[in-house]
Symmetry: D2
Subunit: 456 residues, 4 copies
């Protein structure tokens, strides 16, 4: 996933960026960073860890300037290096530049190969380094033209914020796969962030979504200038942003996330109803869909599984074999509610099936007579390049098993998924959502190399 | 609050105690400790911090023995000292002893004064030290008789687990104010804990509640021996255990906590209904009551406020005056759901009024047309000695203000509390609940010195 | 070893104590603590770790008061518990008391047994708890008389500082085994510390040594009051304080430590000269003696072994078997100086022989033609109760081997020890030094239970 | 300063590098790093902190391969960024490369400017990045030719180790300013390091110094290949390596450091004798010179100032104004030795004069009758670019004051420096040492841009 933020014209841009990154912590917990410009000089601070641990008041105070770009990095198995945190800063021909990037460049390797064959060096594996190199290598005179030049050379899903000493440029790719919104600060400055939930803690008000293919240029003393930098706009917002990436209070391209999830639950009830006494969510991800499901069926909804928020990193070997101990440390069923009942349990997705199996077993142990699992999304059959951690096709249980086979594996009384059609209708707008994980269809010509909802 | 656990006859008693304390982390986060006996020697480890941080696999491995007692200490403002962690260990005439204690001795000072005047020294402020001194000073020959002797000298609310090298004694006071339950381990041993939610991670099954005034003695090769050690039993379970202390999946004296909260919500709907479009809980504390309230009124319930679980200890000064920033870092309303709606917001209690005021303001800022606050408990008018942190009478807003005055202060459209009668009926059994915070009536003769639902 | 400090009548007594403990870090690195009294209340802070890590400016600021007592605890294998740090604080009949103690009570167990049989409880293994109990149990009316009462009941080597809310009492045992000195602060207050090197950083000036059997009482507005609290004074200062416990700049009972070591080196040269080209010390412990040895022989002295001060706690397994890697990480010989030379290497003591063997081998590997080891102390043949870590008789190589046997084991060309007589003369005063480690003779009647240079 | 190490053909090259860096910790404590190649892939780990803290057994185990390059970074005020640690790794046209560098490129900015104008980006301020760019941009086909190409473009003082997947290249600049030595591992591999003291802990034996202008190429199955890559060799070893950079047991270009310092002391005695009773070193830097000074004068030498090795990072404000508290926390004079004496105090250099002034005052306070300060190096009159921390000309007290003026400022009875001639003779070989700090004469044509003993 990852999150980006850009701030321009604020008194203490680093603090505005901090609060935005704090609000988007759910999009990435591995590393975080902010760079600021005071018009003369770019200063950067980035580190592995959570926003609250990485930044202290002292650090933020040392990041002086009215323009900031920031980033939260999603935890990926492969990358242990602090060097892989963003923003990426560099000195180049026109001065200093700092870039944050949320997305996945599908022609990354080709671009690297060409740059390298021309003498470039790469110090990290991040797409962001490609972007800076392309800007630095461009023959154009101005930064804005170099950025446009660079944009003709990268393909994929991306949102970018690019900071020079004096300006900030923000770009959303022509497919609009990842969300990006513009907000206005109380004191006249602006902020741009991956999710609208990032606006609240700085008292910013939502202005509008950045359009697919749009570039905004921020410059002192001027209103943000909008330009469409692509002519072949082909809007394909990622359905997973609604299904589970984004925070329920965010509004993405006009649709509130909680509302979208509620609708998936309602639609799920129509498509695959269950004759149950009680509807339970898997907390917290399944709450809104379960609410919709229960409401549509007219069956009581209860928060019948308690989530323990104290779970840490240590794992202590239990004394005797307690099955599913890790799930049980995190989730506890309320036996009193469940005993002797036929329950529906709602989750937002089913990937490998391991957790679902443990949850079903836990509910049966708690005395449920029947456990009907419902997933508020279609079967995930195809890997989509969200990042290094994305399961391979072999790991995706639905890629090689029928619904009935999966049901048997997880031990549920019944199992139902939302249809692709149902998902599209729940998201509420006539749009070509990026659905490649479900239907395997890449939208830009069907090629496997077409951009999908990937991520860096 | 605090939590205690006792384990007897387990293969690795320290691990069983660890999982129990982990499950009861909500009862105390300041410090934790476990002592074990292997029949020859008591070993203890205690430290400030959360269960998961204090204990490593290595530490637990070093705590060898089949009997363990453990404790979670509630965070109280006054005590910074690691010495105030429990268990408290001592060598005394009959050997070694280790004690954990959840409760509040109301004659603590008198007992201390007398012990001190006889030459005793006190190294901490904990009640637990009183208990050990009384055992050590008793003229009785056996530990069991010394414990009984000690029990005649302390007054108040308490649950105790006392460990010698060979035995374990567990006592619940004659008023039964704090909960205490007995569970059976799969492999034949036993565990006793403040809440039943502590049984699950070790696969223990609930046997029964310890009775008010009961002492259980655990000895190798024998079944636990039960004795009633008081003849004047006067059962007064603490209503706050149901209102907010305990975890929703626990069953206390036969009543499930989630169910009890659900009932308070339903009853609240009868007593103080609101003409609203939507019912929201303050997460997570108000969820069950809000569910009941919504169901009884037939109004939609939504998780309309998102709780951010990443909130840490650092606080960063915002750039401009953002009102209620700390509450907003923790709670975010879903504007989409709330805008233009008349909402009821349900919480489990209203103490100082500060947070309620901020939540009301937050909902109004999110566009709510009306905000009807409902509290699933009666007005808290009297301080009850829960511990050092208990607000004084001056701090309790309901102690000096009428409901209407409080409503005005917090800015709600309307405000309603559950009646005392309503609370009692919701808790579902004919019992003399300890309700001193609401009615100011101390149950053992009306004296201010009577035991109440206090805590150490 | 351990170190104690007492401060009275200072503006910020905690800071004075801090600097004293910092200067006496060499006497104990396991734990440290300070308690202060402001006349109304005693506040204490203690923790495992080094002085510089345990105390921050903030912590010291929170320790307000003009009287302080502090302690450094020597690292001993057995004790992992933070509870074993000093000062020990207690409330007792006359109020509050805080005690620090450097020494070893030889009748500790008898005293404990008696106290316990009268109902006392012990929470730690520290002698200090005995002392507080004896004070608390005394039937005397005033603290001073209770202290005197307590002194009649303990036997052993000790220096004590006892703090009440208003006064401070400092006592050195009647044998004077451990050092204790009085200093005067610039602003009129006083400090007492184990070593005189503790005076410098607070600008205190040395007044005099506390006499064996003397008690000093500090009270506001009065000069310190001296009393001899024993009539059977029998002065036996510990020879090891000069040999290696104390810092070279300290002056103990009138003898400077560096000078004493210089004298042992000179005497050693007379008793066991070596026909060598070069004299080297084992740094830093053997430096002064090596200087004396070289001077007396008229042979060049060089710092021919470099000590690496960066050695930390981690140990990395070397790639191939490097003999003596741990010693080599700490000590590096300067091959250029040593190659082809006959060298004398001087150390302050030889306990197990392991390190000496490694040093000899290292010098031979560096090309030394002959390695003559000289020890500026007699053979250690008997364990003396310095603390839990003291080697047993079996571990003391000289207890079961002749000098020639030891020489062969460590591989030296020759080996020589200082004679007991030589040691006594080097220390420069006509005194009955405590020499039990060398001659096995306990001074108070020859009993094994007689006090020796023990330590808590 | 900084330190570099290269290891080739070792079983666990990372461990060999670790022990080398540990032994050269004195050359840089800010950051450290190691990269390894297993023939297929380069893996790197670098971080701020000391060698012992940065590397664990686990980390070293994860650095698999038989070739390693490593670096210790010297603490410089300006650079707070972890990104400035070495090695610097990059992917470029021929594959992967990792570089460590000890030195200072004097045409750094010109090279950067040119690279940048051709589209390069720079992510750090390190010279090392220049080097990698020049290699990546070279039009030559092989790495070795690209390296040679690069060497024609950089000017300055440097030692380099360059690692590709299969080979390692080591270069010492044509002036030979910084030391670099070759050692042979027991098991047949090789190591190269800044100082010979790095060989011992891996059991390597010294082979020879790398010659000025020499490049060594290491390749599997072959002996190291030597090439002279410059034809205008102009050997100017840095005199400061002998004066205080290097460890006393190192041998640099044939001269042992301790021996060199001893000689400076002897020569100093001839040039500027003092009529004193005692010679003291400033520990540990002045020890060897003080030994030589004392011996030449026939005056006793004593370690009359104790160095406290427990000094940490925290600083506690003293209670009253104690002059020179920071120096006093680190150094304590032995009053007993000094009182009433005329002493000579020997240090290795005098830069700003601040510490010298404090030491003189400390000795006078300790009772010295006269304090004759002697410096075993000439007056430092000109800044030499050792790194960012080098004092400016204004800060160098000798640059604007005569010896007599400095003497008055520091309060010494007399003050003497070693002459430049004396220094050269003490270092023992007929060589054009780099002496720019003393005489201001740049050796390569007198230009200010000529290389000097700089450092990265």
């Amino acid at each position: 996933m990852c999150a980006i933020v850009g701030v321009f014209g604020a008194k203490k841009a680093s603090t505005v960026a901090y609060y935005a990154l704090f609000s988007m912590q759910h999009r990435g917990q591995e590393a975080t960073g902010i760079s600021v410009s005071n018009g003369e000089k770019i200063t950067i601070y980035k580190k592995r860890g959570m926003v609250n641990d990485v930044f202290s008041q002292e650090t933020l105070n040392s990041l002086e300037g009215s323009c900031a770009v920031g980033h939260n990095r999603y935890s990926t198995a492969g990358s242990a290096s602090a060097g892989d945190a963003q923003p990426v800063f560099a000195k180049y021909k026109l001065g200093e530049i700092s870039v944050v990037h949320n997305g996945n460049l599908i022609n990354k390797q080709e671009v690297r190969d060409e740059l390298i064959s021309n003498g470039a060096i790469f110090q990290t594996d991040m797409d962001t380094e490609n972007i800076i190199h392309l800007i630095a290598k461009s023959q154009k005179k101005s930064l804005v033209n170099r950025i446009k030049d660079m944009l003709t050379k990268i393909e994929g899903a991306y949102c970018l914020a690019i900071q020079s000493r004096k300006k900030m440029f923000v770009i959303r790719d022509r497919f609009g796969i990842r969300p990006l919104s513009l907000g206005k600060l109380k004191d006249g400055g602006y902020m741009v962030s991956s999710e609208t939930c990032a606006f609240n803690l700085s008292g910013a008000t939502f202005v509008r979504d950045i359009k697919p293919g749009e570039m905004l240029t921020f410059e002192e003393g001027k209103e943000p200038k909008s330009e469409m930098v692509f002519d072949n706009i082909d809007f394909h917002p990622c359905a997973f942003e609604y299904i589970y990436f984004s925070r329920p209070d965010s509004i993405i391209d006009g649709t509130n996330v909680y509302q979208a999830r509620l609708e998936t639950g309602k639609r799920l009830a129509k498509e695959t109803p269950a004759d149950v006494d009680l509807v339970l969510p898997v907390p917290d991800s399944g709450v809104a869909a379960a609410r919709g499901y229960a409401e549509a069926l007219g069956v009581p909804f209860e928060m019948g599984i308690v989530r323990n928020h104290y779970v840490g990193r240590t794992f202590i070997e239990p004394t005797q074999s307690i099955r599913d101990i890790k799930v049980k440390m995190k989730l506890s069923p309320i036996q009193h509610l469940i005993e002797g009942k036929r329950v529906a349990i709602i989750d937002d997705s089913l990937v490998r099936g391991t957790t679902s199996k443990q949850i079903v077993r836990m509910l049966l142990e708690a005395g449920a007579k029947e456990v009907h699992m419902r997933i508020a999304a279609p079967e995930i059959k195809y890997p989509c390049r969200y990042g290094i951690d994305t399961p391979t096709e072999e790991e995706l249980i639905s890629s090689s098993h029928t619904v009935e086979e999966v049901r048997e594996i997880i031990g549920a009384t019944s199992l139902g998924f939302l249809s692709i059609e149902g998902l599209k209708e729940s998201l509420g707008k006539e749009r070509n959502y990026s659905l490649v994980s479900f239907d395997g269809k890449y939208f830009a010509g069907g090629s496997k190399n077409s951009p999908s909802c990937g991520d860096s």
